[in-house]
């Protein structure tokens, strides 16, 4: 039991899809009085349970709208599950849409501190690691330029460099990182591989069965918010292939 670093216990996530979008006050009051607001309940996740031990790498397969991203967001703590619970041990680093938390008017350097603070790093830690982040991102003198002038590749490079400077216990990857040019991609893949070797626990979402087979040792398939298969990557990918060919 001591090796379990992530425990997802009967998680359900419900969204209210109101038939009409009401976001002004007058409309809301009128409709509330007339009892016209009807919510359509929608469970993006229902009764999802699994456990991951330290060092296991889980691939999450499923078609569009199966609830993959929702599951990652619940695990990252961004969304709060309607029912059930998620227990994590150690530092969780989500590599989702790198650089989304940057302030456009801030320079790269200032954003390193801001983004680092958001990820829960201490000031001393960032000051100590600053040179390393800068070097890995290959931004050079651009580090003192406001981020609004960056290309999307530069932003992603900086975001990746900041997020991976720590050694997380749990790494959340959404699609494989296609960050920057071929050279940087090689470098970033190497960094992630190094983390794998050090025994990081990985959650990996992808549409590509190839990538999942290559990177993961376990897999689950989500369909309409339910887990329909859970096992080793070979077993599960066989089931997934069958579904694809149907």
């Amino acid at each position: 039991m001591k090796d379990v670093v992530l425990k997802v216990d009967h998680v359900g996530m419900q969204f209210n899809l109101s038939a009409e979008k009401v976001d002004d006050l007058k409309e809301f009051i009128i409709k509330k009085l007339k009892r016209q607001i009807t919510y359509k309940e929608f469970w993006a996740l229902k009764d999802v349970s699994f456990e991951l031990k330290k060092g296991e790498r889980l691939g999450i397969l499923g078609f569009n709208g199966a609830g993959k991203s929702t599951l990652l967001k619940v695990i990252a703590g961004v969304l709060k599950a309607t029912e059930g619970s998620v227990t994590t041990k150690g530092k969780v680093v989500p590599l989702l849409e790198l650089g989304a938390g940057f302030d456009k008017q801030y320079t790269g350097k200032e954003n390193i501190f801001l983004y680092g603070a958001m990820l829960g790093y201490t000031k001393e830690f960032i000051t100590r690691k600053y040179e390393e982040i800068l070097e890995f991102s290959e931004l050079g003198d651009f580090i003192n330029v406001p981020v609004k002038n960056y290309s999307s590749g530069m932003k992603a490079r900086l975001g990746f460099s900041i997020a991976t400077i720590v050694e997380p216990e749990i790494l959340i990857l959404d699609e494989v990182l296609s960050v920057g040019d071929a050279k940087f991609r090689k470098k970033s893949e190497k960094r992630i591989k190094d983390m794998f070797d050090k025994g990081v626990t990985v959650l990996f979402v992808s549409h590509s069965l190839e990538q999942v087979k290559r990177l993961c040792d376990r897999a689950i398939i989500l369909e309409h918010g339910h887990i329909i298969a859970n096992g080793t990557v070979e077993e599960v990918s066989a089931i997934y292939e069958e579904k694809l060919n149907k």
């Binding site: 969204f15 209210n16 976001d23 002004d24 006050l25 007058k26 809301f28 990252a76 703590g77 961004v78 969304l79 709060k80 989500p94 989702l96 849409e97 989304a100 938390g101 302030d103 008017q105 801030y106 200032e110 501190f113 801001l114 603070a117 958001m118 990820l119 829960g120 790093y121 201490t122 000031k123």
Partner: protein, 259 residues
């Protein structure tokens, strides 16, 4: 409770980074930079004094300071509540990606505006010296209305920020309400004429006026605070903070579905 405090301390670096960002970006690309925190209230005070001293019947030698204090306190309340109101929406990019306690956003906005407000207080000292306002021990009491003002701004800001996530209309509505509050706070006129006309209740129910009055009493007139105003503004400030925190916590898990 202990959990809340350790969690708060865990994010103190982020809080200071967000406050720093607010202040830095506000004055970036301006030549005078932070000096504007002093210059802007001073210039506004001069304009208002010139405009409104023509309209007043009786003279008051401290009138410029009267305007300056009223306007500074009102501006802080208006700016911080407006910034806090928009806090969740402007930071939606981060909220969707990384878990951070969400109260940090409105809190950082109120703190940064409070620091800017504190930075402009030397102007009050300067004008008081120029007008030869006698210094009394009551000046120290001026801290109390400022603390109350901070608490009230945070409370109101948290209520507004939680509401604005669900109803954008609040943003437009609030700027109208702020204008109403401004005219009901006796910033650039003396309350006597309004009271004479039987509208004293406007000041009685306005907590911001109570705070401004007590600040003026201690800074300009060197008298002790108006007890009724003190009690009312204290109750209102803490009341709004309690309601704000309660409402914010009740609604915060739904924010992400609406931004």
């Amino acid at each position: 409770m202990k959990n809340h405090i350790t969690n708060f301390l865990k994010y103190d670096f982020l809080l200071s980074e967000l406050v720093k960002k607010d202040i830095k970006l506000k004055y970036r690309r301006s030549i005078l930079g932070l000096f504007w925190t002093l210059l802007e209230p001073l210039l506004t005070m001069l304009v208002l004094t010139v405009v409104f001293s023509k309209l007043r019947s009786k003279g008051d030698e401290y009138f410029p300071l009267y305007i300056l204090t009223g306007r500074l306190l009102y501006t802080f309340f208006a700016n911080s509540s407006k910034a806090a109101m928009k806090a969740i929406r402007t930071n939606s990019g981060m909220i969707k990606k990384v878990y951070i306690p969400k109260y940090i956003y409105p809190l950082s906005n109120v703190i940064s505006n409070f620091l800017i407000f504190l930075l402009s207080l030397p102007v009050v000292v300067l004008v008081a010296i120029v007008l030869k306002v006698p210094v009394t021990w009551h000046v120290i009491e001026g801290i109390i209305p400022l603390v109350l003002l901070f608490i009230m701004s945070l409370g109101v800001g948290m209520i507004l920020s939680a509401m604005a996530v669900f109803f954008r209309d609040i943003e437009y509505l609030w700027s109208v309400v702020l204008m109403l509050i401004m005219y009901c706070s006796a910033i650039f006129y003396e309350p006597e004429s309004v009271i004479k006309n039987g509208y004293a209740w406007v000041f009685t129910i306005n907590p911001l006026y109570a705070i401004i009055t007590n600040f003026r009493n201690s800074i300009i007139y060197g008298t002790s605070m108006d007890i009724n105003a003190l009690i009312y503004s204290t109750v209102f400030s803490f009341g709004s903070l309690i309601i704000g925190v309660w409402f914010f916590y009740k609604k915060q898990d739904k924010f992400i579905l609406n931004i």
